[in-house]
Symmetry: C2
Amino acid sequence: MNQFNWDQAFTLDFDLNDGLSKHAETTKRYLSQMKDMYQDQQVVEEILKNDDPLIYEFYELGCPERAGDLAFGTTMIHPGKIGNEYYMTKGHFHQIVDTAEVYYTLKGEGYMMLENLEGDWKVERMERGKALYVPRGYAHRTINTGDEILTAFYVFDANAGHDYGTIETKGYHHIVCDIDGEMKVLDNPRW
Amino acid sequence: MNQFNWDQAFTLDFDLNDGLSKHAETTKRYLSQMKDMYQDQQVVEEILKNDDPLIYEFYELGCPERAGDLAFGTTMIHPGKIGNEYYMTKGHFHQIVDTAEVYYTLKGEGYMMLENLEGDWKVERMERGKALYVPRGYAHRTINTGDEILTAFYVFDANAGHDYGTIETKGYHHIVCDIDGEMKVLDNPRW
Ligand SMILES: [Mn+2]
Ligand SMILES: [Mn+2]
């Protein structure tokens, strides 16, 4: 369990190459924890018979959920696919919907899938040395389309909260797949 | 003038080595704009007779000052000294005092000087690959004690506002100087 005193200044290392900290533990998300989110349920079942791959990790540093505090850390999405669908994060809205988030990509390549409650959506490229603004009101999911870990430093309002449920019911309007070696954005067949 | 649509997702490059963006302009702070902040007024006057050195730069990206938005960018403090006092930023409180800020150092070395309204203070080391939490309530000033540019990525609440005046009147309780080649924290003689 990571613990810091957020009323005092402190520093924490995050390797600028792989995003990892030597002084904190990551939270880990395995396939079994998000198995309903992938399209190809047959492939999911097949994989889970023998294995439970690590899809992504991120740092939860225990920032108090107070107005004025900022939660920060890094996220590492591993490379891989479930069928032809790339490894991705669960994605979420913030509970206080109109709160933004800033990502700064350190390594790897991929996309952020964004979608608001009115169904407006956008997919933004993430790559080393690019900051990405997730505007107020948009659910956001990180997708690794590359061959190495995709890692980014992130900051958001500590009291924003996470709403996984709204987007979990049906998923996003679009999914991101590898079609004959190319990244394609497809309509989500479940919508 | 940097302009972005903060209601839509967007990306912006910041070089992971030097902090610079190819698609935005920095705001520049020259010695003449902060000449009263250094201890050795004789040296300041002497320098300004012939020159007006660039002390630091940072990106102001025009984020609207709305609740839920996050201002971000990089700051670059140049290496150098005024007398024995290292180049530094003006430093400020946030107008909404109880708002934090996150820095992630990309290159160089230096310190963050922190001080709250009760006079509690701390100096925290900044170096490549270290994130720094500026807690709610603390004025913060970045100081470059190294030989190269000190650059960091930063994020803060867009509606926090900047209060330069409170700390400008007398300065911080402490100053950071090079004494015989070593960084020393000294009492501010003006206090
Ligand atoms: Mn988020
Ligand atoms: Mn600030």
